[in-house]
């Protein structure tokens, strides 16, 4: 793109392996000031690994690493930070117990001459920074109490305004709804004008094409293509990523899609006048066997709370649920599970055990089905192996610690844990977040399979594409209330956005 300037960052022949797994093989990568560089590739292709090398998280690798033409070696993230490199990690890495302001200033709080933190000043400046980014939130509230999308926005804001010369965003938009994505892109463009170099990783290829100047494609730890974004297309990128002629895989959903005749099979879930403080107002709906019900809405519309109530993690102020029985609400997640409800929340960290092997992660919810008193590890591994193969989780080794899997593969494990003994009602929050096109397609097929088996499935998402690709019937949730139902009628991305 901007060949006239010399690169601010240059990597040559980077090879990185974890034990015997080669995550990167001989990768060259260059980044210029005032450039937005898009990165795409399948789950496990090595995108995050390369970025973590740049950000000093992984300090052991082979290859040359040059900043401003000078050979450099970061020993820690702190070194990278000092060199002006900041990164938003794929896994949210905020401090949930600190306030919003503390998170914004993490590590460099303003202090007075005595070394005491200037709380008032910190809160004011944090508020101003966030407002510039269109976020309206009390800087003194506890971060962990905010919806996950807002937490992600705050983390992005912190990194964008940290004054770094190189900003790395690893799937930053996965929890954001369209208006926030717009705002993020506007900010990225402004930073580009100021000469910041930006790396942007996403599985949304349209976004990549829209915002970036250069696009690099990774596959199996190798760089397989690098082109100006104006000189390529979605189809070409997908093909480079996964090899098959892949345009068919990614639907754009801008045209009308016809929803089927609503099913009249038995009602599995009946929700009656559910209300929760300021989050949900008078929600009533039904979910039927063999039907996928989509619930769409912007971030913070109450989806998260609704899903938690369905799984007994939150108790509503009023209203009832009935899962094939008498109306009540679940006092605990254990009660919900016994009643046949399963939930995959949007945050992987919330439902996975990073320091435990994959098979223990998959078997945890069904242990009581396979053993009464003593564990049966062999059987657990068998079950896990089957799920790993069915969902094509990479690497297919059930004994590996979960933390060693790439983000998208972890997401698959989160789904896998409920599939061995399918529940009556499966609640999926953002089921395809962080997944590559191929994997998204796999999830769509799995959900259709489960639907054919007679499960009631609820998909909650802030991405119109996710809902459109899966749902037979769609409810739109807006500021805690159901405002529209789409059934047996044409629907498109625009119509959904309009209703929300």
């Amino acid at each position: 793109m901007r060949e006239d300037r010399s690169p601010i960052l240059e990597l040559q022949g980077i090879t990185k392996s974890f034990g015997g797994v080669e995550a990167l093989r001989g990768v060259d990568f260059a980044l210029h000031p005032g450039e937005i560089h898009g990165l795409v590739g399948e789950n496990g292709a090595g995108k995050s690994t390369l970025m973590k090398i740049i950000a000093g998280v992984h300090s052991e690798f082979s290859g040359r690493f040059l900043i401003d033409g000078k050979e450099t070696h970061f020993r820690s993230a702190r070194d990278a930070h000092a060199a002006g490199i900041a990164m938003v990690h794929q896994e949210l890495s905020v401090a949930p117990d600190l306030t919003v302001a503390e998170n914004v200033f993490l590590g460099n709080q303003p202090t007075n001459r005595l070394g005491l933190v200037q709380w008032r000043r910190m809160a004011r400046e944090a508020g101003e920074q966030l407002a510039r980014f269109g976020i309206d939130v009390d800087p003194m509230s506890r971060l962990g109490d905010l919806p996950i999308g807002l937490q992600q926005l705050i983390e992005i804001a912190r990194v964008l305004f940290s004054g770094a010369r190189i900003v790395i965003l690893d799937e930053p938009t996965s929890a954001l709804s369209p208006p926030e994505v717009e705002r993020l892109f506007a900010t990225l463009r402004r930073l580009r004008e100021e000469g910041t170099a930006i790396v942007f990783i996403s599985h949304f290829i349209e976004d990549i094409l829209l915002v970036s100047d250069m696009v690099t494609v990774f596959r199996n730890g190798r760089k397989v293509a690098e082109t100006p974004s104006t000189a390529t297309s979605k189809g070409a990128l997908i093909e480079a990523m996964i090899g098959r002629g892949g345009e068919a895989l990614e639907h754009s959903y801008s045209d009308d899609l016809m929803l089927p005749q609503p099913s009249d099979s038995s009602v599995i879930l009946k929700v009656d006048q559910l209300s929760l403080a300021r989050s949900l107002k008078d929600i009533s709906f039904e979910a039927r066997a063999g039907e996928v019900l989509g619930i769409y809405g912007f971030m913070g519309c109450g989806q998260q709370e609704l899903s938690r109530i369905l799984f007994g993690k939150l108790q509503p102020d009023s209203g009832t649920l009935a899962v094939g029985g008498t109306p009540k609400t679940f006092a605990s997640t254990a009660a919900a599970r016994r009643a046949g409800v399963a939930l995959v929340p949007e945050s992987r960290r919330a439902m996975l055990f990073h320091q435990e092997p994959v098979y223990k992660n998959i078997s945890i919810s069904i242990l009581d089905r396979i053993s009464s008193l003593l564990l049966k590890p062999a059987q657990e591994r068998d079950i896990a192996q089957r799920q790993v193969e069915q969902l094509q989780i990479r690497p297919p080794v059930v004994g590996l610690d979960l933390g060693m899997l790439s983000g998208g593969n972890q997401q698959k494990v989160a789904l896998a844990k409920w599939l061995t003994y399918p529940p009556k009602l499966l609640v999926l929050c953002e089921p395809t977040r962080g997944m590559d096109v191929g994997a998204k397609n796999d999830v769509i097929n799995i959900v259709r399979d489960l639907r054919a088996k007679g499960l009631a499935i609820i998909v909650l998402s802030t991405e119109p594409e996710t809902v459109l690709s899966l749902a037979d019937r769609i409810l739109v949730l807006k500021r805690g209330a159901l405002v529209r139902e789409f059934k047996n009628e044409p629907v498109s991305k625009d119509r959904l956005l309009e209703a929300a």
Partner: protein, 342 residues
């Protein structure tokens, strides 16, 4: 697919010693400490490395070991139980309270048959554990505070039962297990070994044991997996109290008397044994194997210091420093492991 699996397996083997050692730091460091201490004392004192003295050490750590079994469950869940020593004390006193004492013991007690006395004592400690459990899970009081209160409550019950007096008699079975021996091996060592083994088997081979590790590893994830987290936390608090109670009863028989404040040092010793052994204070890592190593470290240290000629006040300081070092390693090992996974 098959080829990549073998590649990974080969990779794990070829991974090199350093990262492996780093991730195993929590298990290796206590073991090295133990070897180092044993070597040091064996060198410093001829009377240390004898079979007789090994027996002494084993007997000395038995009561701590019994209490530490339950505490291991609690710490694996990332909770703490500060009432262990108090509950041990009150249970030991209770079993004496329900036993006929000599006429010169001036306690208005309620003598019962031996089996009934033991049953009452067990019920008492289980009930106190249940109160801990309810406070933690139903009301939501942090275990640190809840068990601090229980420490006082149990001490209060002890005081009311003995009223400053000392009781001597306990049921025959308890006397045998606490102070008798079979074939030269003290029963109390055998009981401790059986309980440690039992704890290990439960943690390693049962569904409940897996739940304990998972709840400790990531409580939120356990809840999102539909586990009954409160039930599991409640259960470990009761297990801890009952183990403490058993340790208390045998301890009373072992010391030959039941009185107020008799177990005060066992709180620190038990926590130290678990933590020095390498069980993570953040939960989810460690186990009975670690606790056993920790018990030996403490046992060797306490016993060895008696064999070498140093100021007895200095000994207290040395114990404190060793504990501090173990805590540093414990926290550091957690970080190293997180880094290895990252």
């Amino acid at each position: 697919m098959a080829s990549s699996e073998t590649a990974v397996a080969a990779g794990q083997r070829a991974r090199g010693l350093a990262p492996f050692l780093r991730s195993q730091m929590r298990n290796i460091a206590p073991f090295l400490t133990l070897i180092f201490l044993s070597g040091f004392f064996a060198f410093a004192s001829p009377s240390f490395a004898t079979l007789d003295n090994l027996g002494n050490i084993l007997t000395q750590v038995s009561v701590t070991g019994i209490i530490a079994v339950g505490l291991t469950f609690v710490i694996l869940c990332a909770e703490i139980d500060l009432s262990i020593a108090s509950i041990a004390n009150v249970t030991g006193i209770a079993v004496a309270y329900f036993t006929l004492q000599e006429s010169y013991v001036n306690i208005p007690n309620i003598p019962l048959p031996g089996a009934a006395a033991i049953l009452m004592a067990i019920l008492l400690c289980a009930a106190l554990g249940l109160v801990n459990a309810l406070g933690l899970t139903v009301i939501g009081i942090p275990s640190f505070i809840m068990t601090l209160a229980m420490m006082q409550i149990a001490a209060g019950i002890s005081a009311m039962l003995v009223r400053g007096q000392i009781a001597y008699k306990v049921p025959g079975l308890i006397t045998t297990l606490g102070s008798g021996s079979i074939g030269g091996i003290p029963w109390i060592v055998i009981v401790a070994a059986i309980m440690l083994l039992g704890g290990h088997l439960v943690l390693t081979y049962t569904r409940f044991g897996r739940y304990v590790y998972m709840v400790g590893g990531n409580r939120e994830a356990a809840e999102y997996s539909g586990l009954n987290v409160k039930l599991i936390l409640g259960a470990v608090m009761v297990i801890s109290a009952v183990c403490s109670g058993i340790g208390g009863m045998l301890g009373v028989a072992h010391f030959g008397s039941a009185q107020q404040n008799e177990f005060d040092t066992y709180l620190l010793d038990s926590i130290a044994a678990v933590v020095v052994g390498g069980t993570s204070l953040f939960g989810g890592r460690g186990g009975i194997g670690n606790t056993i190593v920790g018990l030996f470290v403490l046992g060797v240290l306490n016993n060895g210091l008696d064999h070498v000629n140093i100021d007895s006040f200095l000994k207290i300081l040395i114990r404190g420093l060793i504990l501090l070092a173990a805590l540093v390693i414990n926290v550091y090992a957690q970080r190293l492991r997180e880094k290895a996974v990252d």
